[in-house]
Symmetry: C2
Subunit: 236 residues, 2 copies
Amino acid sequence: MRYELYYWPEIQGRGEFVRLALEEAGADYIDVARRKGGTEKMLRLMDSPRVKEPSFAPPFLKAGKLFIGQTPNILLFLGPRHGLAPKSEQGRLWTHQLQLTLGDFLVEVHDTHHPIGVGLYYEDQKDEAKRRVSEFLKERAPKFFGYFEKVLTRNKTGWLVGRSLTYADLSLFQVIAGLRYAFPTSMQKLARKHPRVIELHDRVAKRPRIDAYLASDRRIPFNEYGIFRNYPELDA
Amino acid sequence: MRYELYYWPEIQGRGEFVRLALEEAGADYIDVARRKGGTEKMLRLMDSPRVKEPSFAPPFLKAGKLFIGQTPNILLFLGPRHGLAPKSEQGRLWTHQLQLTLGDFLVEVHDTHHPIGVGLYYEDQKDEAKRRVSEFLKERAPKFFGYFEKVLTRNKTGWLVGRSLTYADLSLFQVIAGLRYAFPTSMQKLARKHPRVIELHDRVAKRPRIDAYLASDRRIPFNEYGIFRNYPELDA
């Protein structure tokens, strides 16, 4: 079955967590909105009354007749089908729990440059962003890093769950890559204090399919439209 | 099996979505931290190296030997066990997708009074909160309301999913109840424009077990420590 991924074509954003899972799985998929006329098709689908289970926002995945929205939900679906989550219920719930926690982290990363509203430009909330990012780098990012370092310390295998890679590892890789792009200076200190998290990032980057994906033009470069933005004035 | 729910005892917060599901299910559970010494027990468990799958934050649920964290994940677990989610994979994914979208909404509600950081007092971010809430009430809340109204319009049964109540309905009920507490004036206009959402709220409130729960002292009143806070200066 060929999956159809629907997501904004200019950014990694939330869609990137799905792209990474599909790439690592070697799955057959189309990144619909990156093709000619694809964004229009996505917007039409979002408005279409024929879709009984509409998504609030991209990304969503078409898998046969199913439309699945919400990034963690898409990964919950893909995980057991492609060996990216354990088979047991306990393992699947735990993997999902980690993904949801990464999702919480991601919202806080996004809000460093958009503390007042997603509908406003960064330039219109720059002062508030400076306050928010200082709290984020001082309190929140270390708390999340410490949590994932603890999980890796307890599991002892180098992966977050069990003995092999899951979609939660791919997602943690993406968050670390993004934070390095956004906050290169602040990340040096965080990296030193959380070696297991960084080792996991490096190990994921070397997976043959991920390595090939990152070097391909399917990987959209980080930029200042996505979740992870490099605004030097925010990197303390 | 008697469930153990671990959550802050002073607030409804995220734990309330789990409480509502357990109450509607008539499940046997203990709200651990509301008992003597319970908060200390919760904090000890969060720090204990014996817990191999630690939660980043409450709520978490102990079910037999399982520890399950993250509100939507707990509901994903409870749903099929207590008739609060469809049996089919498609139905379970769709219910979960709605729950995750309500979770996104909830973060935005919380950030109306905490746009700069969770670690700071509201009083230290009042000016930013006024800007954020104006964007929230003008753009974001109507967008989320419109989405759930659309889902109810397409499903035609009065429930979000299929022909009977799911945990997503309980959660939408809670969000509406909270918004009415936090923004009584602004909610009047939103309610007029989204009658199906309000009807769902009222229908859930009349369920015998929910009705009994809301009248009991197990229901913690809304207050200014939780997600939904009544600050009259924020209610435009």
